[in-house]
Subunit: 240 residues, 2 copies
Amino acid sequence: MTPDPLHRRIYADLEGRILSGELSPGARIPFEHELTAQYGCSRATVSKALSELAGRGLVTRRRRAGSFVAQPKAHAAFLAIPDLRAEVMERGQAYGYRLLDQKQRGPDGGAEIELAAGGPLLALTCLHSADSVPLALEHRLIALAVAPQAIKVNFQSTPPGTWLLDYEPWTEAENRIGAVEADALTARLLQIKPGAACLSVERRTWRDGQGVTRVRQVFPGDRFDLVALFSSAHAKDPSR
Amino acid sequence: MTPDPLHRRIYADLEGRILSGELSPGARIPFEHELTAQYGCSRATVSKALSELAGRGLVTRRRRAGSFVAQPKAHAAFLAIPDLRAEVMERGQAYGYRLLDQKQRGPDGGAEIELAAGGPLLALTCLHSADSVPLALEHRLIALAVAPQAIKVNFQSTPPGTWLLDYEPWTEAENRIGAVEADALTARLLQIKPGAACLSVERRTWRDGQGVTRVRQVFPGDRFDLVALFSSAHAKDPSR
DNA sequence: CGTCGTGGTATGTCTAGACATATTGATCGC
DNA sequence: GCGATCAATATGTCTAGACATACCACGACG
């Protein structure tokens, strides 16, 4: 009943025709002037709908040639990697956190020198738990040259991930997800048997090309799954 | 030297000020009419830049109130989960594929009944390899009620993931990533020792609410990492 | 004092055009 | 036949406005 904006309707119509297969990859989408006539609106409105479709990778637009249904490339998925504390609390569990070790030191190798950016590193080891069950062991390095305020933070009470999320914005990041077997120390801290399968998430973030932090989190394989739920109609738009 | 479109420059300027922390979460962004004056352009151009920022979750716009820097919610990461064949070939390795088992059967349990949508299921087991080294063991179910053409496909030569990607569009999907220990059969097929840590990726996809396929891929932990590289300036825009 | 309009304001949507730019397809010259 | 040139065309960008809509603040009324 609520009259959706026209450009949204056009967007939805075309999206439906693409996803239903009526318009298959490579097929040409009606010219803007045709859609203009069809919907009785101006070209700007049609163009807005097409721009959104292009932004979401459903269509490709080429000058002079027209707009076409894009070839499906890869499953591009939005993987939500929230702050662990927020994640645990959202599930209604009690979040626990313990700082195991904190020291300041220089970089010890190639990758760490790059991260350090000429300054010292803050190395933290901590343990996250949900309802008193160990959930993740975290090894984190923070480049103090880039995030000098980190020295003053009391990481006894604040998980470094939470603090960084709030105070140290990043511009690029890389996540590396893999499976590893728990070594003896990890197994003891996570209360699992040595050699058990664990999910390893290693994340590195940069701000304007300078490394900010590098973190490796190890989760017991039987206690944690990363879940990414998404739609190709896309879930990012808050207005829906 | 190339004069970028104005709306892009405005976008980049504001993005920079947000990511650098100059504009912190909750801060108000100059009104559109102020930006209009500042850049000497029309409101539509400013609005386009703000719309893109809003679309990417960096700002929130409210009528009457204005535009504000969004609260950082979660690290939302673009995780590219491409077709395995394309992935392997892109790395310059020889892609190998072998169909181990194919049968058509009815659903055997709760979740499968939901997937089957009243029809039979096609159950496939296959093995992917890179340079003759086993890379992943795949168990897949396809709902024939939704994708009837799958019966006619020769999965001896075409990996089901590749075929589905090309011919059966999806609208929603869920990825579940975890770590598991290899059971005896898996270990033998992947040529690893039983109990070795493996990365398990389970993906379910739907089209308009109807389940299309469910797949579980198991990768040896020491041979495969999922890597997600992204920037909060976001990598989806093909024009960059 | 509380509650219900009401007006002002900022964004949301849209129009009808303009010029710029890239690319295609055809024409022309060799 | 083949290559270079050129015009037609579709999209990209932008303008200067218009009306719609949501929201906040303030004031009037009970």
